[in-house]
Point group: C2
Chain length 323, copies 2
């Protein structure tokens, strides 16, 4: 349920398959993003700059630009692409604040503490910049979509904190959290590009599949590929679908006291989850969602052939990332 | 330089002097605020609810409504009033995250930690709700003003973190931080109500005076009136104008190692600052600013007589609060 992953989605494959407009616009969005993070007379805290550099493959900006299409005006599309990534970065920075503190190291070092202070403010700044960027240009509908997604993200984060260490969490609650924490920003990105309901549903479903597969990866590893220890979610007290489903065939799993886990115990618990059919079942669900999502594209008759093809590649890429 | 204060500004005096429209609109804004914090299907974290209850006297919403005036449309004014207070509350909640952790108690307890986790997300949610509220209604200019102020707040917070424990900070830097951290949201509130430059300058100057006097109070106490220990800013490593000016006549003050302060040492350092003429000088500056601010009101010829009179009362109230 963390949003971090060292395995980038295959944005490259999409860009390779695209004609020149998409890479050009993504480069513009990247430029805009850098200006927003670095410009305006102050140096943003190291946290934000490193997040910018580490920033994955800009999947959300790609979705904005791809859905907007080659015929759309470049200005609003590029601004929306930068804004959605600023909000995503803000959540990463705030996640770092939360994750760094007591759970990985037992208690904060002085360095971790001063990092946390800076990071809270840096996240707020990134977040504010996203709205300021759109507000300056008067992009009213984009602001509305982004505000809705931001509320969802924060509600998802709160829900996750409220649920922490509770192994009685069911599927419905898990999916609600995923919709809030991940799917909403994907849906927002898509609709900022092209505000159609069917396309929004495509975005939400791809986002949901993305989160499910991320949660599989947290259990399955391997760490050298994911860049994090296995069972990070378990250490954070975050109960995800793999544990929920594994508990059906191995109920003893749900009796585990997540508060007392250390890294070896989290790895052992991950092994025990992986020994059930849970990971296969979660993967199968995600594949179904991706198939559903692709089918929805047909309902949006305004999409060009290239756009539809590239969106299918994005959806496939979310799966391939884990195969 | 903290934004907390147990001494409420005399909003009551302004409401007593007003005809019925202002109290009625403030009650509407309060209602709206409660709906935003409590509604939408989830219980906001205790942090936000307690901030709502403790929430002082709603000085910023008062400024919005007062500047909008009795002839303005109620809907946009009430929304703007609620939104500006949501952003203010978000900063208080995030300030609590930062202040609670290592500086008051040496290191976080488990309770402080889980509070901090929740509070970061709760602040994000309040912040997002402010923009969502305005975006739903399409209040484009209000969003632009609020986004600008939010960027300023976050920049001010970052600047304060960057400056922490640095006793070589000068006046110019201090005033820059005050403008970002406090004056910007006052200016925003005023301009959300009535978007005139002279009125905006009034708001900024009142905000600046407010911050200066708050910083005097942090040194002068007494704690039973302020609700916090003397020298809280010093303990946080925040160098404010009283220390900067005191250092001119007692340069040894600037050699103090703020990192090693405990509460008794902070109280002793406060005494030493108070023994200079620094507090009187800061108070005099704040009084000048308030006089300047009031003079600016004459330049906005669109203000009604009652509005102008009540705005003068607000400015006076900022001073009386500390007399």
């Amino acid at each position: 349920m963390t949003r971090h992953s060292a395995v980038p989605p295959p944005v490259t494959a999409v860009l390779d398959a695209s004609s020149t407009w998409l890479p050009a616009r993504l480069a513009d969005a990247e430029q805009r993003l850098r200006e927003e993070v670095r410009g305006h007379g102050e140096v943003l805290a190291a946290d934000a700059s490193s997040t910018l550099e580490a920033g994955g493959k800009r999947l959300r900006p790609l979705l904005v630009l791809l859905c907007a299409g080659p015929e759309s005006q470049s200005g609003p599309a590029v601004r929306a692409a930068a804004a959605v990534e600023l909000v995503h970065m803000a959540t990463l920075v705030h996640d770092d604040v939360l994750d760094d503190a007591p759970l990985r190291r037992g208690r904060p070092t002085v360095a971790a503490t001063s990092g946390r202070l800076r990071a809270t403010a840096a996240g707020d700044l990134l977040f504010s910049r996203a709205f300021a960027l759109l507000a300056r240009a008067g992009d009213a509908r984009a602001i509305e979509l982004l505000a809705w997604a931001s509320v969802s993200l924060a509600r998802g984060e709160l829900a996750q904190r409220q649920d922490a260490y509770d192994t009685s969490i069911g599927e419905a609650r898990y999916f609600e959290r995923c919709r809030l924490k991940t799917a909403a920003l994907f849906e927002c990105a898509v609709r900022m590009g092209r505000d159609e309901e069917a396309l929004g549903a495509f975005g939400a479903e791809v986002g949901l599949a993305f989160q499910l597969l991320d949660d599989v990866l947290d259990v399955a590893g391997p760490p050298e590929r994911t860049g994090k220890a296995r069972g990070t979610d378990l250490l954070d007290g975050t109960v995800t679908l793999p544990l929920i489903l594994a508990g059906e065939s191995d109920p003893g799993l749900l009796a585990a006291d997540l508060r007392s886990l250390d890294e070896p115990a989290a790895a052992a618990l991950s092994d025990r989850i992986a020994a059930t059919d849970a990971l296969d079942r979660v993967r199968a669900r995600a594949l179904e969602m991706v198939a559903d999502a692709k089918a929805r594209l047909a309902a949006d008759t305004g999409l060009g052939d290239e756009q539809r093809h590239l969106l299918e590649l994005v959806a496939d890429g979310v799966v391939q990332r884990y195969s």
